[in-house]
């Protein structure tokens, strides 16, 4: 298990290296990263990795994460597993759409 620290709010949780950053958080019932489709399509769980290394798993919508962003450690938390202790910043947000 690796510690995942949210830089801005100092929240922290433990995430396995076989689960995604988002799945590890959801499993614990935590809510520090917005949760949407959990399949790389909707973009609400967009994060920037500040410290540590992750492994990418699965495809991310290019509408939400460009290749340029990805090369700078920006990705969707539902599409990356932690390889070490991680510090990240939440970029994605729930844009209130309907109500």
């Amino acid at each position: 298990m690796h510690a995942v620290l949210l830089a801005e709010t100092s929240e922290e949780y433990l995430c396995g290296s076989a689960e995604t950053l988002l799945a590890g958080m959801v499993r614990l019932g935590r809510k520090c990263i917005p949760v949407g489709c959990v399949n790389g399509g909707c973009g609400v769980c967009k994060v920037a990795i500040v410290k540590g290394s992750v492994r990418k798993c699965g495809l991310m919508s290019r509408v939400h994460v460009s290749e340029e962003e990805e090369s700078h450690g920006v990705l969707l938390a539902c599409r990356a597993t932690p390889m070490s202790e991680i510090e990240l910043k939440v970029i994605g947000k729930m844009k209130k759409i309907i109500w």
């Binding site: 495809l59 309907i98 109500w99």
Partner: protein, 314 residues
Amino acid sequence: MGVMRIGHISIKVMDMAEALKHYQNVIGMKVTHTDAGGNVYLKCWDEWDKYSVILTPSNQAGFNHVAYKVTDDFALVRLAQKVRDYGIEVEELPAGTLPDCGRMVKFNMPSGHEMRLFAEKDILGTDVGSTNPDPWPDDMRGAGAHWLDHCLLVCEMDPERGVNTLVDNKHFFIKALNFFETEQVVVGPNGSIQIACFLSHSSKPHDIAFVAGPTSGLHHLSFFLDSWHDILKAADVMAKNRTRIDVAPTRHGITRGETIYFFDPSGNRNETFAGLGYQAQRDKPLITWTEDQVGRAIFYHTGSLVESFTTVYT
């Protein structure tokens, strides 16, 4: 004579192999065609036309177009003219533009969503046939969805700029395409802002629906199931397949539909929907849901909104 039903929806998927697993093993559709461009065409067991869902390979998720089937070529000609008369440009697509589909007319809804109408598509028949049919086929998979039922589109709204393409779409669908409104959600002073609209062209509570959002997009495509028990079984199928469920089995106030919301492997939201609620008729008084009861309109039991449901779409 005019529009009959949703004929098909075309959506983008990022990983075709994963998408096919989902639409076959979870929804229970069958692949009926794959074209040279890698687009895959599927149908449900209770549908007779060759396909109702088109999956197109892409680097993103989301909506391509939705097509409604009309009664005959005469209706197609007449509706194309009505769309033009409404002031919307129409493009004629010759037969074969989509495989096994007759000629189509193509235009954009006021919300920007691409829509097509067609009168003919190759008929494969339902999986139980049309002669002394059994009630269900033996090789049903997953949720065993009967048919693609409707879609819900997010339509751009910006009250500050006076933009509400949901209302523009409503007027267009009623005036040009002869749909009728069954239910609405209104908010703001004296309920002056409409944020959801349910339209029918049949006896179902909705054949298409619109909600307002900051940008236009796809909220969900919905598949029909028979009963509440089928909804429970569909949720079991999703759990077995580790499908991401957005909203677990519940009931809507709007349409009285029994429902589950979930995401395909690219993040496009799907619904399995049971219970036709009531018989929609053109002279039935319009049902209105007010801002103070909007929670129950959407999720009748809890009366509270689910954040991802009202904020996430492709």
